[in-house]
């Protein structure tokens, strides 16, 4: 894209529009099909044990500033694709050998041992694995001294956090149906497990019971009180009656109860997206399901309330095509695809396999947030409204142009790569948090970006959620017409930095500075 044109359009719009932040022309959101960037057909395959899952893990495993991707293949090969895109150029990938693993359902990147190389937690129908990153996109099995017990369950969700003064992360594994239960598969949900570190190794598995067929987990400081909790979204298709959406206190380990204000909610829960979209600093959540995709506003004090229908995110039935049955939602993720300073929402959709109750041809959603906070469907106009059985996905800038691209992993259909070609998008920046010692990616940090008009964009640095998919990449912000902003970080252990100025249109490493300061250094992007 011609940068001069973009700036020109920003300036014109700023002049014409009453609201200065309104920079991107959202009706111009456009993606170009780059599926051919993948050197081989990649898809998520398999029988019933791969009706769910199909995740993508996005990480820069060779430190070249271009995110790479590990794609779960289920019964088919899971593969690592190294990003070969030139800056601002066409997205390109090359396959890189990685330890062959069967029955992979999903994967999440995180730096377990604090060596600065991202590792991969690989979820499977069978023993979960940690692949230790060695740099240059080489991975090896986690060494025995890590004492990681991957279990034998059918794992379908994951989240992680760094607790207290621990150098290593606490891992949460969510499991689906207990296939060994002779009374199953219904009302036969397996238990979930928490694994806490013991020094520079992992301790025994701690059962999280009851389990209700967890398809997404997310550790989040959702009340913004410095105490993260574990949210679990569960699939009623298999727990059937006695189950619910869960929230767990991590310390001491206990499930939230109705008595303390956690209302019973039953969903065909498939995925979690979390982001503050109302501007109050508290994260909203989207819980994907069958039919209604549920957006809950965070009202503070631990109260979540279903958004009104008019917000435009329910996406109950396909928005195009001639199949009027309810949709099936999987991965959901917020991201500002037009860099207008307002987060948009992508939802991967697709039939479980042959569920006649639900649409067989079910287009993915790209819901663009409007100035009034409502969302408008642009999946079709933007080109990304494909009809296959989508599962995992990622919104990530693959070619360093500051625009979020989209990856989609499909069951029984080829993986999709969509290059964002939106004309007239706004300014942006991306922040790569860094801590010395352990928790080097500052998981659990909360980043606030203050725009010149006073609006604050809040981002929590989490591991988990989505549908079997996670990304460990710089945090992307759209800035609209503004080319500067101020950043403040609440670090995982609670210390709060001062506001520090930051420029638009680049990727910056943000680390604690002297006192309450921040050290901000440019990694990439336009000079």
């Amino acid at each position: 894209m011609n940068r001069g044109h973009r700036l020109l359009s920003v300036a014109v719009l700023s002049f014409l529009a009453p609201e200065p932040v309104r920079a991107g022309n959202e009706t111009g959101v456009l993606f170009v099909d780059r599926a051919s960037a993948l050197p081989v057909r990649q898809s998520y395959e398999g029988e019933w044990n791969h009706f769910v899952g199909g995740g993508l893990a996005v990480l820069d495993c060779n430190d070249d500033g271009r995110p790479d991707v590990y794609a779960a293949g289920g019964a088919a090969p899971s593969r690592l694709f190294v990003n070969a895109s030139a800056k601002g150029g066409e997205i390109a990938f090359a396959e890189r050998p990685i330890q062959p693993l069967g029955a992979v359902t999903g994967a999440y990147p995180l730096d377990v041992d604090g060596d600065g190389h991202l590792d991969l937690v690989v979820l499977r129908d069978g023993p979960n694995m940690i692949l230790r990153g060695e740099g240059a996109c080489r991975f090896s099995s986690a060494p025995p001294e890590w004492t990681f017990d991957g279990g034998r369950e059918w794992t379908t969700s994951f989240s992680a956090t760094f607790e207290g003064d621990q150098d290593w992360p606490t891992l949460a594994f969510g499991n689906y149906v207990d296939k060994t239960d002779p009374q199953g598969p219904f009302e036969a949900c397996d238990r979930n497990y928490l694994i806490r570190p013991q020094g520079r190794a992992f301790g025994p598995r701690i059962a999280l019971e009851p389990g209700f067929c967890a398809l997404s987990m997310l550790v989040s400081d959702w009340k913004r009180n410095g105490v993260p909790d574990l949210r679990i979204s569960n699939d009623r298709q298999y727990y059937v009656r006695n189950g619910r959406e869960q929230m767990w206190h991590l310390e001491p380990l206990a499930e939230y109860t109705e008595a303390e204000g956690w209302p019973e909610l039953k969903l065909w829960g498939m995925g979690i997206a979390s982001r503050d979209i109302t501007g109050d600093g508290l994260p909203e959540v989207v819980l994907t399901s069958m039919g209604d995709q549920v957006l809950q506003f965070n009202e503070g004090g631990g109260v979540m309330r279903n958004a009104p229908w008019s917000v435009g995110t329910y996406s109950t039935v396909p928005y195009k095509g001639d199949d009027g049955r309810p949709s099936t939602g999987w991965h959901a993720e917020f991201g500002d695809v037009d860099n207008d300073g307002r987060d948009d929402l992508f939802i991967a959709k697709g039939n479980v396999d042959q569920m006649p109750s639900n649409a067989i041809h079910d287009p993915n959603n790209l819901l663009i947030q409007q100035p009034d906070g409502t969302f408008v469907e642009r999946g079709d106009a933007a080109g990304v409204g494909t009809m296959d059985r989508a599962r995992g996905a990622a919104l990530v800038d693959l070619n360093g142009d500051g625009l979020l691209d989209i990856l989609v992993n499909n069951r029984r259909a080829p993986m999709e790569v969509w290059q964002n070609a939106t004309a007239g998008a706004g300014h942006w920046l991306a922040l790569d948090l860094s801590l010395p010692g352990s928790n080097r990616r500052a998981v659990g940090a909360i980043v606030e970006l203050r725009l010149p008009d006073g609006r604050v964009l809040t981002r929590e640095n989490t591991i988990g959620g989505g549908h079997a998919s996670g990304a460990a990449v710089p945090l992307h912000f759209g800035l609209g017409a503004y080319d500067t902003a101020e950043v403040r970080v609440t670090w995982p252990k609670g210390s709060v930095s001062d506001w520090a100025p930051v420029h638009a249109d680049g990727v910056f490493r943000v680390a604690p500075g002297e006192g309450e300061g921040l050290t901000i250094s440019r990694l990439g992007g336009a000079p």
Binding site: F51, G184, L267, D322, P356
Partner: protein, 454 residues
């Protein structure tokens, strides 16, 4: 196709001319009557296939819990329907208005739509099946038809009716049963339908394990005799062959009238003039099957659970729109055939009216009864349910939306005498074959040895 063209073309018959020979006949305007049904309108099948299909139609072995057959809700003694507004499927015992929930296998909800009569469903002109047409001829699709499985649909079925026959066995409320009650219901709820591990294969394996059926399939299908395994499509083909043969209905007084053999009673002739004239009925109830195979929002009150999935809270039945995804088809339902309509109460897609006269009154003024409708007009067996049968609000069946959708429907306000004439005409659609319950009668037993709903 030529048959269909012939049907659509119709012929104009000057009634007054035909009636002139008899004295005392009211003057009739000329009306356009369809051409009569002939053998060419029906596929023919070998007797061995029909005999096999008949036993399968009556055999509860096709249901997950082996407790319900096609005939249970499409009973020849009840006009190939069930005499209920909304039936009880799997989990009921007994037939028709005597059907009761089984306390040991209690139904989760009523079947959301009225069980249609099966008269002439095998006719070539029957191109849209189910009230919402989710199985239909559709030249716009690569396969030439629409089914709920879209491109996942298996091959091997011989007709649209056979394709339709493949689906009630997959419905948890109709025939499959729920959750892990049985192997079929478990596969269905998992979404495993096609292929060697799917629900259809599991049902076919049950049938194939019964020696009498193996012999009958070999007698009916040469390639099965030569060693091919029995597929579910073979089962549905045989049932479709049976229904085509046994539920063919073209020997009503109306058919004789179409063939020019006999005129109807004076009152029925008057009703026919209204039907094909100022009452506007034939605008939709056209052709010898008395349906245009199209969808119309006619403002019928909707009772029962609606077409809500288990993950939905509403009780709406938006009809065709749920299939087509086209908002202009909200609350539109396929025009039902009126063949033997007097034998198939209650009426309406949700069976809201037990009485045909009451149905006609509001049907002539679509949506007019929504404000005053009482569920006492329905016939509903006792069933303790979580949701009310009558829920007109916008969180339920949404009567306001039904009324809005019917606002554009034509109105033909009729006086009582005209309604009586039309009822007399509808009585002329009653076929002695249908009154007798078809041609073949109820079998004494079925090869599975299971009890039949005779």
């Amino acid at each position: 196709m030529t048959g269909l063209r012939r049907i659509l073309a119709g012929v104009t018959v000057p009634l007054a001319l035909l009636c002139a020979v008899s004295s005392g006949v009211r003057a009739q305007p000329a009306v356009t009557l369809p051409e009569p049904l002939t053998d060419a309108d029906f596929p023919s099948h070998p007797q061995a296939e029909i005999d096999l299909g008949r036993l399968l139609f009556w055999d509860p072995v096709l249901s997950g819990n082996r407790n319900i057959s096609c005939a249970t809700c499409h009973h020849p003694r009840l006009g190939t329907s069930d005499g209920l507004s909304l039936g009880i499927g799997e989990g009921g015992r007994g037939v028709g208005p005597d059907r009761k929930p089984d306390p040991a296998d209690y139904p989760e909800q009523r079947i959301p739509r009225n069980a249609p009569g099966l008269w002439n469903v095998g006719a070539r002109g029957f191109t849209v099946l189910f009230a919402d047409g989710r199985i239909e001829v559709d030249p716009g699709r690569p396969t030439g038809f629409r089914t709920p499985l879209e491109d996942e649909m298996v091959s091997g079925f011989a007709s649209l009716l056979s394709a339709q026959t493949m689906f009630p066995v997959l419905s948890s409320d109709e025939m499959a049963g729920h959750y892990e009650e049985n192997d079929i219901s478990t596969l269905v709820r998992q979404g495993r339908l096609t292929g060697p591990g799917g629900a259809w294969a599991a049902i076919a394996a049950r049938v194939a394990a019964i020696p009498v059926y193996r012999q009958m399939f070999s007698a009916a299908y040469r390639d099965i005799a030569a060693g091919r395994e029995i597929d579910f499509a073979d089962i549905s083909n045989a049932i479709a062959a049976y229904m085509t043969f046994d539920f063919r209905s073209d020997s009503a007084p109306f058919d004789a009238r179409l063939r020019g053999e006999r005129r109807l009673s004076p009152q029925a002739e008057a009703g026919m003039s209204l039907f094909y004239g100022k009452a506007g009925c034939s605008a939709c109830h056209s052709g010898p099957l008395l349906t245009d195979m199209k969808f119309h929002a006619m403002g019928d009150p909707q009772i029962g659970p609606g077409k809500a999935e288990r993950f939905e809270n509403h009780q709406r039945d938006t009809g065709r729109m749920k299939v087509s995804n086209n908002p202009s088809e909200a609350f539109a339902f396929r025009t039902p055939s009126l063949r033997n309509v007097t034998l198939t109460p209650p009426y309406g897609h949700a069976g809201a009216y037990r009485d045909l006269r009451a149905y006609l009154m509001q049907h002539s003024d679509p949506g007019s009864a929504l404000n005053t409708y009482s569920v006492s007009d329905a016939i509903l067996p006792g069933l303790e349910l979580g949701k009310p049968d009558f829920a007109p609000g916008d969180g339920g069946a949404d009567f306001n939306a039904i009324a809005a959708a019917a606002a554009a429907a034509p109105r033909h306000v009729l006086v009582a005498a005209e309604i009586e004439d039309i009822l007399a005409f509808l009585k002329s659609l009653e076929d002695p074959v249908a009154v007798a319950g078809g041609r073949m009668g109820i079998p004494d037993a079925v090869p599975s040895g299971l009890e039949i709903d005779g």
